[in-house]
């Protein structure tokens, strides 16, 4: 630490990965931030000034709570996150800490992960939380017929093997590897992975990995037994979701929550579409909102309350399928990338917050981000490449990008800005706007599309999910043995500094292949009333209100 080889946040992260309690890690790092101060707790430090009791009213889309393993939206996970909990928790500072797992150990080869579960954790029905419950959940997630997105995560993909058979579309059929997850004893669970995975703790806070009681049957809303501090009191989809503090277990005993102080008595989610949440806040209907769009920021500034802008790795990839003409020509892809000024687009769309992205899908917020030289727009260079590829003024390059605005109208704004910039290089870009649900049907099939990717705590995670050869979410059809090997190498490196050095190759390889124009890492905006304290600005909009209180 004296040599300042790694930052304080990186040190705390490594310590957390190694199972060192957060307070101890921060102490070793030589500082005591407000966050993660409580003894071995993933939550912020208790607030001596906190007022206990009260209701927090939040505007958000209220969705059904069917099967947490198949949740498709962060909103439904937010309704559930106060009831069911996770083995690990990634905090607003993007550091992952133990939650229901008290600590973990990892083997040198990153293939064997051992989780020591927290003792004394009770379910709402009075049962003790034990290792078999974790095994039950992991096995459920691995059942391909369940349709859980967890299967796509690196950790769980490394628990599956191909059967040798193929389905009707020629995709390999997979099954769980025998012994991939095992209960070592009542409070120890071990994951035996087929390949090294770095992001196991981070994957365990991905929203469909909430730990459900072994008696669980869908829908969760009919009998939501959890370990969290709140229970579901009322759910009316499209109307409201009311959560109330658990004080007694189902068998009448006092419920002592393992996570310490929780200040709120109730959390009320009220259904407001995203466009209407800020107006609902302005009208005094709610104390906080899920999100408001950047277009509404001037209105937000005019309102009494605190605007919270979370720095994230949420992004838009205007990507090309590298095996589809005309994008199968590297010169064309490079010309497209060269014709665009990412920094100018970021400035146009998110002038006050956010980060400029660099077409390699690793964000400055990621611990292993390697700062490559800034990208520069080169219109003349783009024209020269196009000429080489057979395009000129008499035969201009004409392409169409599909846009679903799945994350808001800013997607379209970005594409329109790209279109205007490309004109200077003689490229004619048409924008095909479609409804969000329609876009999700073609997102991995269209030759050129604008796809939103959510925040992931590590830089390697999105790369592993989206750019490895043949992975299900490889929407660009990018296939490079060199890239895969470089990413393997980076992912097998536990410590941040050496991994960052290896990320230089990974990022450069992807950037040079020009598979996408990725102009911005967007901020996430929300607003809270001044009477609300401790409201977290999480980069994935995950709500964890344990230490939130209202005056």
């Amino acid at each position: 630490m004296e040599r300042h080889e790694i930052s304080r946040r990186e040190f705390v992260r490594i310590a957390a990965l190694l199972g060192v309690a957060a307070p101890a890690a921060y102490k070793l790092a030589g500082s005591t931030p407000a966050f993660a101060e409580a003894a071995n707790s993933p939550f912020p430090a208790p607030d001596a000034n906190a007022k206990r009791g009260g209701i927090l009213r939040v505007a958000m889309q209220v969705q059904k709570m069917e099967d947490p393993a198949t949740y498709a939206w962060a909103e439904m996970s937010n309704q559930t996150r106060h009831i069911l909990e996770y083995l690990a928790m990634t905090g607003p500072d993007n550091v992952t800490r133990p939650m229901l797992a008290e600590s973990w150990e990892v083997s040198e080869d990153l293939k064997t992960w051992t989780f020591n579960l927290r003792r004394g954790v009770k379910w709402h029905n009075g049962d003790a939380f034990v290792a078999d419950h974790v095994v039950f959940n992991v096995k459920r997630w691995l059942d391909p017929q369940l349709g859980s997105a967890n299967i796509g995560l690196s950790t769980f993909a490394a628990m599956l093997e191909e059967t040798g058979e193929k389905d009707g579309e020629g995709n390999p059929i997979k099954r769980t590897i025998e012994g991939a997850v095992e209960a070592v004893d009542s409070h120890t669970v071990r994951f035996n992975l087929s390949r090294p995975v770095l992001s196991v703790p981070e994957d365990l806070y991905n929203y469909p990995t909430a730990i459900a009681h072994p008696s669980f049957t869908a829908p969760l809303s009919d009998n939501a037994i959890g370990t969290g501090p709140f229970a579901l009191a009322e759910l009316k989809v499209g109307d409201k979701c009311v959560l109330k503090r658990v004080t007694k277990t189902a068998d009448g005993q006092d419920f002592e929550y393992w996570g310490g102080d929780v200040y709120l008595d109730e959390i009320h989610y009220y259904n407001f579409d995203e466009d209407n949440q800020l107006t609902a806040f302005a009208g005094g209907d709610v104390d906080a909102i899920y999100e408001f769009a950047v277009e509404q920021i001037e209105l937000a500034k005019a309102l009494p309350g605190t605007i919270i802008a979370a720095r994230t790795a949420q992004t838009l990839c205007c990507r090309f399928q590298v095996n589809q003409p005309p994008f199968d020509d590297l010169r064309v892809r490079q010309a497209l990338v060269k014709s665009v000024d990412n920094a100018a687009i970021k400035e146009l769309v998110y002038p006050e917050d956010g980060d400029v992205a660099e077409n390699h899908h690793v964000a400055p917020i990621h611990p292993e981000y390697f700062a490559l030289p800034p990208l520069r727009r080169d219109v003349e260079g783009a024209k020269a490449l196009l000429k080489e590829a057979g395009y000129d003024e008499s035969n201009p390059l004409k392409i169409t990008i599909d846009v679903g605005n799945t994350d808001g109208p800013w997607h379209q704004t970005v594409c329109e800005a790209i279109r205007d910039q490309m004109k200077d290089a003689g490229i004619e870009l048409s924008i095909n706007v479609m409804p969000p649900s329609k876009y999700w049907e073609i997102w991995d099939k269209t030759a050129c599309g604008a796809t939103a990717w959510t925040h992931r705590p590590l830089g390697t995670m999105a790369l592993s999910l989206g750019y490895r050869t043949g992975v299900p979410w490889n929407e660009t059809n990018f296939a490079s043995a060199e890239f895969d090997a470089a990413l393997d190498d980076a992912e097998a490196t536990f410590e941040v500094e050496p991994r960052r050095a290896k990320m230089e190759t990974v990022q450069r390889l992807l950037q040079d292949q020009a598979v996408m124009i990725q102009p911005v890492y967007r901020p996430v905006y929300t607003i809270v009333k001044d009477r609300v304290t401790g409201y977290p600005a999480h980069p994935t909009q995950y709500h964890q209100f344990n230490r939130v209180w209202v005056a």
């Binding site: 009213r57 059904k64 069917e66 198949t70 498709a72 939206w73 391909p144 017929q145 349709g147 859980s148 997105a149 299967i151 796509g152 389905d167 009707g168 579309e169 995709n171 059929i173 829908p219 809303s221 989809v237 499209g238 109307d239 409201k240 009320h268 009220y270 259904n271 407001f272 579409d273 209407n276 107006t279 609902a280 302005a282 009208g283 005094g284 209907d285 709610v286 799945t406 409804p435 649900s437 329609k438 876009y439 999700w440 049907e441 997102w443 991995d444 299900p472 979410w473």
Partner: protein, 316 residues
């Protein structure tokens, strides 16, 4: 008359059968089944499913049953009062529909209660003397408000009365229970949008009646002007607006979706929009049947009313 009503009801049943069949055909397509899968599981998860897993998921939702079987089951359940289950809301469609219809009914009631007297009064005042200052002022106000789209009126009213003066709530989600104040802005928006149309119809009708021979005769006979207007002109002048007003029922049921969504008022139109975006087939089916029923019913009421108001119309 009875024959007319029976014929209209038969037409209604036929339309319902055709519409429900067509909707079922559309929503039975692979495309719409995929839409439900994407809405339920998310685009990323669906793309990770193998064909076999996707089929298993369809089976778990009952979407793998052959079309004719699903349609027959739905029809059989319909006759027993079971409208099916909502995929999106995870609740019985009948209860959801009843709730939303009640909310829209309350909204429609207050819109009618305010709009009809205002529109008729202004229309009559304008039509009594065509080209007079009162006619011009009324016509300008009517055209002005009707020309502004509902969404613009809603925004302007919200900015003035909710965000500016803070007299009224900005949204009508009724999160703290039923609150009449939350109904004021949506009702105002709809009344402002709609009254002009009815007023213009009334004005045109009144103006036409006022130029007719029997009114001129009545005036020349020396009957006081007020009596001529109230006793002789008004009844005939109300025939056309009556038809228009009854047909507004249709609009208030499913045409006010913009206002319901803007104010987050949980009405029938908002329900139908959400169901369409999700691909929630049983909600769409039930909503469509209700919309057809109200459309036909409003036409029947309009026909019957027209008969009573216009002595020249008689049914054999």
């Amino acid at each position: 008359m009875l024959k007319l009503i029976l014929r209209r009801l038969a037409q209604m049943v036929l339309i319902m059968a055709v519409v429900s069949f067509v909707l079922f055909v559309i929503f039975d397509s692979d495309k719409f089944k995929k839409q439900i899968a994407v809405a339920e599981l998310g685009g990323f998860a669906v793309s990770a499913l193998t064909e076999e897993d996707y089929r298993a998921w369809l089976a778990s939702k009952g979407l793998d049953v052959p079309f004719h079987e699903r349609y027959a089951n739905w029809m059989a359940n319909l006759f027993q009062g079971d409208l099916g289950h909502s995929f999106e809301k995870n609740t019985e469609v009948a209860g959801l529909l009843a709730d939303r219809l009640l909310n829209t009914g309350i909204l429609a009631f207050w819109v009618f209660a305010l709009m009809i007297p205002i529109a008729l009064t202004l229309g009559v005042i304008a039509g009594i003397k065509e080209g007079s200052p009162q006619d011009r002022v009324t016509s300008f106000i009517s055209v002005f408000f009707t020309s502004i789209p509902e969404i613009a009126t809603a925004i302007i009213l919200t900015v003035i009365f909710a965000l500016g003066l803070q007299w009224l709530p900005a949204k009508s989600a009724m999160i703290g229970g039923w609150n009449w104040q939350e109904l004021v802005l949506p009702v105002m928006t709809l009344v402002l949008y709609d009254f002009g149309y009815v007023a213009r119809m009334t004005r045109a009708s009144m103006a036409e009646v006022m130029t007719s021979q029997y009114i001129r005769t009545a005036i020349l006979k020396g009957i006081p002007r007020n009596r001529v207007i109230l006793r002789h002109a008004l009844r005939n002048a109300l025939i056309a607006p009556f038809t228009v007003i009854v047909l507004q029922l249709n609009w208030l049921l499913s045409g006010v979706v913009v206002v319901e969504v803007f104010f987050q008022y949980d009405g029938f139109g908002k329900m139908l929009l959400e169901a369409a975006l999700f691909g929630d087939i049983y909600v769409i089916q039930a909503g469509t049947l209700v919309a057809v029923f109200v459309a036909v019913l409003s036409q029947i009421i309009s026909d019957i009313g027209y008969t009573f108001l216009n002595p020249r119309i008689r049914f054999n």
